[in-house]
Amino acid sequence: MTEPAAHAQDPRSDPWHLAHHFTTPRQQFDSGKLGIWLFLATEILLFSGLFCAYAVFRANHPEVFVYAHLYLSKPLGALNTLILIFSSFTMASAVRAAQLGQTRWLVRLLAVTLVCAGAFLCVKFIEYKAKWEEGLLTGARYRPEAPPPGADVPKEAAIPRARPAPKPAPVDGLLVERSTIAPAAVGPSGLAPAWLAGEPAHPPLEWRGPEPYNVQVFFSFYFVMTGLHGIHVLGGMAAIGWVLVRARRGEFGPQYFSPVDFTGLYWHLVDLIWIFLFPLLYLIT
């Protein structure tokens, strides 16, 4: 505390919003702010586990991501990005309105933020519904009805979903799993396309050739990452709704706006996570 003791208050004149275990509103505000930032740090670490898994799998199987991301709708993903960015802007403006005591603007801006959050989830619902109907789910439920738009997959090159696991062969005392079947010859007479035999260094922008193995893993990443993010959006909506009710009662002003501020910080984090999810899931080349 940098406030001199002379500035401390008479208990009789404590504002209603000052909890009994704090000396001044500033101390209460700073403590709350540190608390919410520590919480946001744990949230970042929670999501970083998923980003880490994503990084490892993408490093080993870039072809799965290049192929499967074609199933996702870039326009809808970009629309959701813009919705969330706008809601972040209205949320930041709401905090400003609370700081300036502009209650009517505070209520309006919080309402706009809440509507944007709902719109985000509606778009997400449209996307999830399309994935469900097209059989683009995780694990054994991955049964696509058609190859993704932008992919040229020859029908005769259809591959079995489940590939039998190769027999492990001990090498120098190590147990190493490796297929003993060499890739088929390339060319008009051969079966394997050039990329499967390991010819091009980078997969083409738009997919040509058969579907890669283990595409269903991409949808595991997609649903878990966007799903966890969506749960956070729901939590943010609950928090914003609660703050909105209190703002309508006129509880917030220049002396007391921590719930608005801290809800805003949480909402910006939700935006922050999406800023990374969008390019990593939708914009793969």
Partner: protein, 129 residues
């Protein structure tokens, strides 16, 4: 509780709670975020090989910095909050980079052909092919 000083409690303590970010700054940050979103979608349409991923991550990093510094007030807040945030990021970097150091060490156990990026990695059998 210290003794009553006669100073109006609200005026004494609460007038400087947080920093009021000017509306112009908030609007400018929003405009920049929209522009960067358009840029990242446009950049994804150009095939630059591995560079695409780094460009996308760089743009996302700039957007995240704008959100954290201005929308989340970190530029104006007490520096200790920045320490908390950067400390968290340091652990994220540590976490992901350490995992990535040996992510490709399992190349020998991957089936050749299923992972085209593995073809140049040396295995007990020679190269991945």
């Amino acid at each position: 509780m210290a003794s009553y000083s006669g100073v109006e409690p609200a005026a004494a303590d609460s007038s400087h709670l947080g920093h009021v970010v000017p509306l112009g700054v908030l609007a400018a940050v929003w405009g920049a975020l929209v522009a960067l979103t358009v840029l990242t979608v446009a950049a994804a349409g150009v095939d630059l090989g591995n560079l695409n991923l780094y460009i996308a991550l760089a743009i996302a990093g700039v957007k995240a910095a704008l959100v954290v510094l201005y929308f989340m007030h970190l530029r104006y807040d007490r520096p200790f909050l920045l320490v908390v945030f950067l400390g968290c990021l340091a652990f994220v970097v540590l976490f992901i980079s350490l995992a990535m150091t040996d992510a490709r060490a399992y190349a020998p156990s991957l089936v050749p052909g299923q992972a085209p990026s593995m073809k140049d990695v040396h295995t007990p059998f020679g190269t991945g092919d």
